[in-house]
Point group: C2
Chain length 205, copies 2
Amino acid sequence: MPASPPEHSGRRRGGRRGGDADTRGDILRAARRQFANGYEATTVRAIARDAAVDPSLIVQFFGGKEGLFRAILDEAVRPHDGIESALAEGDGEVGARLAAYFFGIWEDPARREPFQAMLVSAAFNEAASDVLRDFVRAEVIARVGSVIEGGDVELRAELAGAHLIGAALVRYVYRIPPLCDIPLAEVVGPVGRAIQGYLTGTHVS
Amino acid sequence: MPASPPEHSGRRRGGRRGGDADTRGDILRAARRQFANGYEATTVRAIARDAAVDPSLIVQFFGGKEGLFRAILDEAVRPHDGIESALAEGDGEVGARLAAYFFGIWEDPARREPFQAMLVSAAFNEAASDVLRDFVRAEVIARVGSVIEGGDVELRAELAGAHLIGAALVRYVYRIPPLCDIPLAEVVGPVGRAIQGYLTGTHVS
DNA sequence: GGCAAAACTCATAGCGTGTTGAGTTCACCT
DNA sequence: AGGTGAACTCAACACGCTATGAGTTTTGCC
């Protein structure tokens, strides 16, 4: 007869998990955390350890390290409707609303991590930089560019996005004071005003 | 008798190189290129291959992968006197002069690479992020902050730096159009004006 | 010329990686 | 109740990594 279910034991001997285990979700959550350090720096074994799962299960679910990575990138990139409403509504300046929406993402770890994974990995990983490029074009340049007036709308929208990215990196990833220490409102104010200059400026060159 | 010097052969059998070989410099140049992809993504073997050298020589010269990496970071961080003169001289706006100096670094591969290595690796490598933090504090916040007036000088100087970093990443690392395609002057103009707002604004919050 | 030290390569140790295949346990459907 | 397939673990393979130590060739100095 097989060993009776070792309910008190920390180790399982293989086989399907009982109950409502959301193992796939556990893996995704762990991967999100780990991949925030970049693709190459992350190991499948570390993700598996973090999710309390065998490494080979990751292969079975996602087809391997790269498949799991792409799943995380998809999380970061799925439609950001907040941009739409930040552009549409009318209290205060557009720049401040966009900045508030963007930094709001970074304040929540679960939403920050896939984003950070994309930014960090896009520096050298081809898949990640493709995803980032498409994201900036579709979500930032196209949407923001379509609501501002004047010439060079694409360039101005992109420069605003570049500023947001730089400020987020300094505050949340590089963690350089004083920017990383002050409350969110004190960041949104000046940054919102700066990108407002890009969005309402009539010319750039 | 030992094998006669195989001058025509592609392979050497060991031993010191003849002539004025700058092997140490070759290694540093190769490392600069490779480390621009991040610390973890770079292998000692790839650097050695790039420099046409045996991996163990890198260990002998620099003590290992990390020692070589620190040498590259030191390159990026050594005093940037261009900032001083950009702040001091007086034709045009300070913002534009700072932007021109900063982007000038990124236009030259040899000066960009250690910089890029620092930025990319600082996202997860403790050593690199320490170096970056010190660099921003000493070269940007302290120097720029000391010549501008009003309140919150440190924060405003840092936000200007954050914008420069973001724009450089989008243009030179992520390579997202249209910012990555237009000539330098058309970047320096608008970005210079934007950071000028930070540097001359009297208050931020 | 002779000799110590520096420069350089080779072989390999020791380890961690991503992935595979087989085996075990559970949930669902009829 | 029984069977099919999904979920899950275990052991191990093949590979690439950093680093070590010994051996070979050249330089610079006396």
